[in-house]
Symmetry: C2
Subunit: 220 residues, 2 copies
Amino acid sequence: MTITHAEENYLKAIFTIAEKEAGPALTNAIAAQMQTSAASVTDMLKRLSDKQLITYEKYRGVQLTEEGGRLATALIRKHRLWEVFLVDKLGFAWDEVHELAEQLEHVQGNDLVSRLDSFLGYPKFDPHGDPIPDAEGRWTFRKQAPLATLKAGERGIVTGVDDHSTTFLQYLDQLGLILGAELELLERFPYDQSVRVRIRDGRELILSDKVTQNLFVKIS
Amino acid sequence: MTITHAEENYLKAIFTIAEKEAGPALTNAIAAQMQTSAASVTDMLKRLSDKQLITYEKYRGVQLTEEGGRLATALIRKHRLWEVFLVDKLGFAWDEVHELAEQLEHVQGNDLVSRLDSFLGYPKFDPHGDPIPDAEGRWTFRKQAPLATLKAGERGIVTGVDDHSTTFLQYLDQLGLILGAELELLERFPYDQSVRVRIRDGRELILSDKVTQNLFVKIS
DNA sequence: AAAAATATTTAGGTAAGTCTAAAAATAAGT
DNA sequence: ACTTATTTTTAGACTTACCTAAATATTTTT
Ligand SMILES: [Mn+2]
Ligand SMILES: [Mn+2]
Ligand SMILES: [Mn+2]
Ligand SMILES: [Mn+2]
């Protein structure tokens, strides 16, 4: 049973939604994620259901089967490993690699993923701080929370982002808030929930509520 | 104007045929190369002609336009660079990389090829000894000839293969006839045109006519 | 030059994946 | 409970890329 690129992309979208919403993925949510029409989604859901990759009840949304989950996880693994390759080996910036990884994740071959994994030194996280499942599909979780939850006086290390948009990533670059950056929250302004932080080199920054909600830190 | 994977593959096939046959590529030759039906080829030729990537005269075969040639060359460049990556960086054997490169060559992105090229150290030849065109589409040619043309007493260095099949490549591995291997032709047997050669470590091998015609050497 | 063989194109179909518009089901509001 | 709004599915159509079978063009043979 062969699986198409489109089918793989839908499985990934369903996985992502199910993870976030914690329940069945609804047609419209999938359509939004895939940037396509609800009609096209319904079409595809039938195909995926025929292939036993999802369980599908009309009007009730879908869930991945065990096999569907395995495939989605493998795809995410490939996507994130390729992102590590593009950043660590080819020198791309972290805001430039997503579209390329969207293509590379579909390349299939026997040993490719494991050899790539080995070549990269078995990374546990991708350039955006997202975890990379291992060959058996096991995830490494990390204690992290949005910067918005940090209290004044606490210190943290930047470990990831929720928003993956180019504009956000480039803004963080400009601020020097790359992965691993250390910071201390000096104060939070009640007016708009913005914060003042001090970073490693002593510089102080004001970060908006929007930034603090989309930036993950590990409390240190 | 977007170009599909299938279209790219046809352009490459036409390029390869035109190179070998030195003339227009005929429908049946393309069908054979693409392992598809002549009817499907005719279909595609119309599409490529509409996109001005080939000049097509019914029943008379096709030729690549300048733009078509540029695209085909770029595709071959990508294919061969990825093959170098798979062998040099991921440790694949030279007989394992073609199918993967067939997929990787279609990945498109701004800087990808040039960064890959740089990462690999600007290789001029792929793992099979085939030349890699540079970013401007210029080819590096090498004085090489089939081992069949070598005369008794002459020495050569293995520089490439004509037959790219797994069985041939693995057989060469077994014999120790990898790229760069030095050999001396000791004698040619008139009966079947097989030859006796001595290789670097002093071992002597008997090579069939089929082998000598598919193995390229640089006379040294 | 006509007949036979070969090469190529056309005709008609299929499957994947997409679309818009209309119909049907479900959920929400009064 | 009934009406309205929202969500989802169905219907019908389009494109790409493939197929087989039949028709036509070209080349080769006699
Ligand atoms: Mn990504
Ligand atoms: Mn990522
Ligand atoms: Mn190849
Ligand atoms: Mn090659």
